[in-house]
Symmetry: C2
Subunit: 184 residues, 2 copies
Amino acid sequence: NVAHGLAWSFYLGYLQLVLPSLEKSIDSFRGSHRDSFWGRGSQKLLILIPLNANISHKLEDEDGNIQFYDSLPNSELDRAGVRGRVYKHSVYRVKDKRGKAHDCAVEYATPLLTLYRMSQERSAGFGASERRQQVLLFYRTLRDVLDQSLECRNRYRLILIKDEHEDDPNFLSNTILRHLEQQN
Amino acid sequence: NVAHGLAWSFYLGYLQLVLPSLEKSIDSFRGSHRDSFWGRGSQKLLILIPLNANISHKLEDEDGNIQFYDSLPNSELDRAGVRGRVYKHSVYRVKDKRGKAHDCAVEYATPLLTLYRMSQERSAGFGASERRQQVLLFYRTLRDVLDQSLECRNRYRLILIKDEHEDDPNFLSNTILRHLEQQN
Ligand SMILES: Nc1nc(=O)c2ncn([C@@H]3O[C@@H]4COP(=O)(O)O[C@H]5[C@@H](O)[C@H](n6cnc7c(N)ncnc76)O[C@@H]5COP(=O)(O)O[C@@H]3[C@@H]4O)c2[nH]1
């Protein structure tokens, strides 16, 4: 089951490495970006998991109320022979209905790109009809693995995006804002 | 089958992105590193796949005839909401028996770290005894996927490392040198 392995890989090869130092990274960012607005509960990495695996590379392409702000400071780690491999997160500024800015570290779950592309390649072994199931399996496996992780506790938020409101141009910003409020 | 998905992920999320620009990257490196020695056929990424999935983070830890030299120039790509995600390779200098230096871009296949760690986590679903089989499946799947890839042709070399000579302190450098010679 491809999604099972990708969820474990996402945890073991990424989240387990970056989440423990996320809070420090955000604190350092706030020190160097005096005009940034972080809600009380938003010292977490928001991870977007759209059920249709439809992932864009820039969040502002999805919603006019979202803008790229800046990157968090880089982490560099020696990994499997690659020296100083760079890990970083993007901070986006999300405007609410009153035009107030909310900053947060948010990204799509990158392995969903692999799921999407594999479902298009006949030789990869599964088709578009199984893709939704695989995304759900990815979400559940990741959620269960992260639940067991002491070092990642409270450092992330998984946002499963069901696609019924894709005609709403501010669907993504509203979704993110709703999750940011829940944490305050 | 975990290894199948990890091989596809390694191709779709990495090799397909970086191999097409590798030659240009090495040319630029040779221009800024006048004392580097590149064999006629070594404008490829050497990818080490040890059957026992035993991966170190720095190649010089494995073999005294290998030294880290420098990194190839960075590539930056917007990926799944992460802006300017950095992709880079390490160049290592490998000494042969006569002490002559050979430079090359080499690294372990990072997903093997996931296979190794998963085989240690009981909840992940497979044990140490299946690990070797999974590494073989990873190797074969990756080889088949890359064979079909026009844009990656001749830009890589997969090096499957069987572990019978691990008592030889220069086993890794000898292996790499043998593969570099084959390309000339
Ligand atoms: N958002 C995000 N930012 C990152 O820096 C990052 N690094 C890894 N990942 C995701 O975590 C998981 C584990 O990563 P691993 O390194 O074992 O496999 C990686 C790794 O073997 C290889 N790869 C990707 N980027 C690089 C890189 N910069 N250098 C070397 N290898 C890389 O290709 C695989 C798939 O990569 P992605 O498909 O981008 O998603 C990975 C993967 O799902 C990341 N996700």
